[in-house]
């Protein structure tokens, strides 16, 4: 090889250029992921934030004789087509519950119909020009207003977009998660303690270990099939309930909790165990009084992450029937319920365009909860993490 100095430095330049190119490509890949995250959140906020606003109309409700029969008669003809059907429907009911209302008139803010709401938010609607003009006039006079949508948080599901809320799904989620944690946390921690602190290194232990790693990677929908075949068909747990949903999710969360608990237990230094054994503790006493307290932050972090994962899971819950129309808040663990992601799924399938913002709004709430759960897990780890 008789390359001249110039040739070699040329080559070197080329090689360095190539090297830099790899750096820029890899930087670009990370930037791409970041860009996606930005686009995603911008899109969700753009679609979902309107869900927190709801058009309201200030109308005079006239509790007349006619209104007791048909609620539509209680309001001025100009308004009756603009307010939500649900308001109209409840007027006769109100009068039956409270007979003193008869003959009185009340001025108050009521829900506008979904069409009015969508019109104010600038979406396409099926209103004619005359109605649009009327709405514009009412907006100018302050009779129609977009207010904070309290109902979105306080009501259950509904087929009418302006009435639909996330309350029943939130309650269902909480109940399902209670079941999930009540099963997965103790069993998961106990399994991890057994494998880390007690188990002899034999075939059975290895089998359990391989099993747990595999369970963590099995598609979630298969847990749904298990829930359907074993819990519902075999043990007769009622379908669509927080009980069966929670049990199914518990099996899914179990490996997450086991794996993180084992990591936490492993990070407790041996010297602590030796010291405890040295003063005459039995194995269980070592674990209970010394190892577990030190591993607790790690275990909690893992459990919170597992919980957040279970909270976002939908596929197995579809199979066990938890994607259901639940207008009222569920009161017991053996009643039909739905959860937040399932509610999002139900709304995403609604043909009415007004449900798009409901879906995105639900997603924002769900994401806020999940991200704060994960953030608290990270904070917990940061705060209590000990380097030995």
């Amino acid at each position: 090889m008789n390359d001249s100095f110039d040739q070699i430095s040329q080559q070197l330049k080329g090689r360095h250029r190539k090297s830099m190119r790899l750096k820029y490509y890899s930087m670009g890949a990370l930037a791409l992921a970041a860009a996606f995250l930005l686009i995603f959140f911008a899109d969700m906020l753009n679609k979902g934030l309107p869900a927190f606003k709801q058009a309201m109309i200030n109308v005079e409700i006239n509790y007349s004789e006619d209104a007791a029969k048909s609620g539509r008669a209680a309001v001025n003809r100009d308004f009756s087509t603009l307010i939500s059907r649900s308001v109209v429907r409840t007027i006769p009911l109100e009068m039956r519950n409270d007979p003193t209302l008869l003959g009185t008139t009340v001025q108050r803010w009521v829900l506008a119909s979904g069409e009015v709401d969508q019109y104010l938010k600038g979406n396409r609607v099926r209103l004619d020009d005359e109605e649009m003009e009327r709405i514009d006039r009412l907006v100018e006079t302050g009779k129609i207003e977009q207010q904070f949508n309290v109902g979105f948080f306080s009501r259950g599901d509904s087929k009418m977009a302006e009435l639909a809320g996330i309350m029943s799904a939130v309650v269902g989620t909480v109940m399902t998660m209670i079941v999930t944690l009540a099963i997965a946390f103790p069993i998961g921690v106990m399994t991890a303690i057994y494998l880390e602190e007690f188990a002899p290194d034999n075939r059975l232990t290895q089998l359990i270990e391989i099993n747990i790693n595999n369970l963590a990677a099995i598609p979630s929908i298969l847990f749904g099939l298990l829930g359907l075949a074993i819990f519902i068909n075999f043990f007769g747990v009622p379908r669509s309930t927080p009980l069966v949903g929670g049990m199914t999710l518990a099996l899914m969360t179990l490996p997450v909790i086991i794996i993180s608990t084992r990591t936490a237990l492993r990070s407790v230094p041996e010297s602590i165990r030796h010291a405890a054994f040295g003063v005459g503790c039995s194995r269980w006493q070592v674990v209970k009084d010394h190892v577990l307290p030190l591993a607790m932050p790690g275990i909690m972090t893992g459990s919170i992450i597992g919980l957040a994962q279970a909270m976002g899971e939908t596929a197995p819950l579809i199979i066990v029937g938890m994607v259901a129309f639940i207008p009222d808040v569920t009161a017991s663990f053996t009643e039909a319920a739905t959860v937040m992601p399932a509610q999002v799924f139900t709304w995403a399938n609604e043909p009415d365009h007004a449900f798009v913002e409901k879906t995105a709004g639900g997603i924002l709430v769900l994401l806020a909860v999940l991200i704060s759960l994960n953030a608290s897990a990270v904070l917990l780890r940061k705060k209590f993490e000990r380097r030995w």
């Binding site: 490509y25 598609p219 929908i221 298969l222 847990f223 075949a229 075999f234 999002v344 799924f345 999940l370």
Partner: protein
């Protein structure tokens, strides 16, 4: 519900009462024995706990066993006598516990043994879960294969369960009239979407891992890692909504401007979004593996005059390759089993095509479709979901096993313990 709950509640409260009694009486007795000057093997509290275990343990075991036998064999054991028997057993246990409060009994070791068994019992639940999945899926899948031939299922190219409800209602015209269960188009769709996802996830995930492992200053790392974790924490149903509402129409519009015809349920949208979902799995595992490659290898390469890029390409990546492949396989098994994104963004119509702009369906979509229909559980379509689930289980399980073996090989080669 109330009627079954009522005796159960009484049972629980009586058991709780007995347990409390056991605890306090045993502790008192042990304290007395010790106060009288006899040296005892264990502490009073340990005797007390042993008495509680002796009281509650057998009783709970008996009632659980009874309930299980009742469900398993369908034997009709009346609830009330069963619970009563359990309570009698609890009382006997209490008595035994009391008798055993004596100086030469190792209460601590006895508790230790019980705890060991309880913990081991908890550990076997993971095996039971896997067994449960296997039994439930294989059992129902076998039912399905009795109705339809396994060979047709594996090689058939038409998936048309449409008429199976007629057969379930007894109005079908004979053996397999109308309903066809050929799973090839479903698997073709699944692999197509998975391939698109991997085409997005592997380069982006791997390159970001390289950047984070080799180039990034610690400040960038501190931001990038949580960012990728957020990506991993987004629920799949949310990704599905994003794919269906934002990405799919965008792809249709882009395809129109280039003069192509794309379906709103095209395979590209769920594929791309699924790829984004998998990026964090691949990048975090690859990052770990790249970090585990010993620094001496990098130093050796740099000392020979290789540029940094050449070191990464020719030394670090080849060394980390088993780990990277195992990460990709794990990502792939996740993509194969992913449900919500494809249910919301991919099509329902089985379609055997290689054009990603066309509508196609996947295994998981058909499982969900079969499970959410108003069909009898014993109908062929519902059971077909279990057959599909079985194939899915086998495929993902083997991918996971290969991945575990690869990572173990890597770990042994470089003696890293934290992978």
């Amino acid at each position: 519900m109330m009627l079954t709950n009522h005796p159960f509640l009484i049972f629980c409260s009586v058991l709780l009462l007995l347990g409390l009694m056991a605890f306090f009486i045993a502790r008192k007795k042990a304290t007395q024995v010790r106060a009288s000057g006899t040296a005892m093997f264990s502490q009073p509290d340990q005797y007390a706990w042993f008495a509680v275990v002796a009281t509650a343990g057998p009783a709970i075991l008996l009632s659980a066993l009874g309930a299980f036998v009742m469900l398993l064999i369908g034997a009709d054991i009346p609830t009330f006598p069963l619970l009563l028997a359990s309570l009698v057993l609890a009382a006997i246990g209490l008595a035994v516990g009391m008798v055993l409060v004596r100086a030469n009994f190792h209460a601590r070791q006895a508790i230790e043994r019980v705890i060991r068994w309880v913990l081991a019992g908890a550990a076997t639940i993971s095996i039971l879960t896997t067994l449960g999945i296997l039994i439930s899926i294989v059992g129902e899948a076998l039912n399905f294969f009795q109705m339809h031939s396994f060979w047709d299922f594996i090689t058939g190219t038409t998936w048309a369960p449409g008429n199976s409800f007629l057969m379930a209602a007894g109005r079908g015209d004979g053996a397999s009239g109308g309903a066809e269960f050929g799973s090839v188009p479903l698997f073709a769709g699944t692999f197509m979407i998975t391939a698109i996802a991997m085409a997005v996830a592997v380069p982006v995930g791997l390159l970001s891992a390289i950047y984070m492992g080799e180039y990034a200053p610690s400040r960038v790392r501190a931001v990038a890692k949580p960012m990728l974790e957020i990506l991993a924490g987004i629920p799949t149903v949310v990704y599905g909504f994003f794919a269906a509402i934002t990405v799919a129409p965008f792809i249709v519009r882009v395809a129109e401007t280039v003069g192509l015809d794309a379906s709103f349920n095209n395979a590209l949208a769920p594929g791309i979004v699924m790829g984004i979902m998998i990026i964090p799995f691949i990048s975090s595992l690859s990052d770990d593996v790249i970090n585990a490659v010993p620094d001496s290898m990098r130093q050796g390469s740099l000392a020979l005059g290789m540029t940094k890029g050449e070191t990464i390409r020719d030394v670090v990546i080849p060394a980390a390759l088993p780990g990277i492949i195992s990460a990709s396989l794990l990502g792939m098994s996740r993509a194969l089993g992913e449900t919500m994104i494809v249910v919301m963004a991919a099509g329902m119509r089985p379609n055997l095509t290689i054009n990603p702009l066309e509508e196609m369906t996947t295994v998981t979509v058909r499982i969900v479709a079969a499970m959410t229909g108003d069909l009898e559980f014993e109908s062929a379509e519902t059971l077909s979901a279990f057959a599909l689930g079985l194939v899915l289980f086998v495929v993902t399980l083997s991918l996971n096993l290969v991945s575990v073996i690869m990572i173990r090989r890597f770990r042994e080669k470089y003696r890293v313990n934290n992978l």
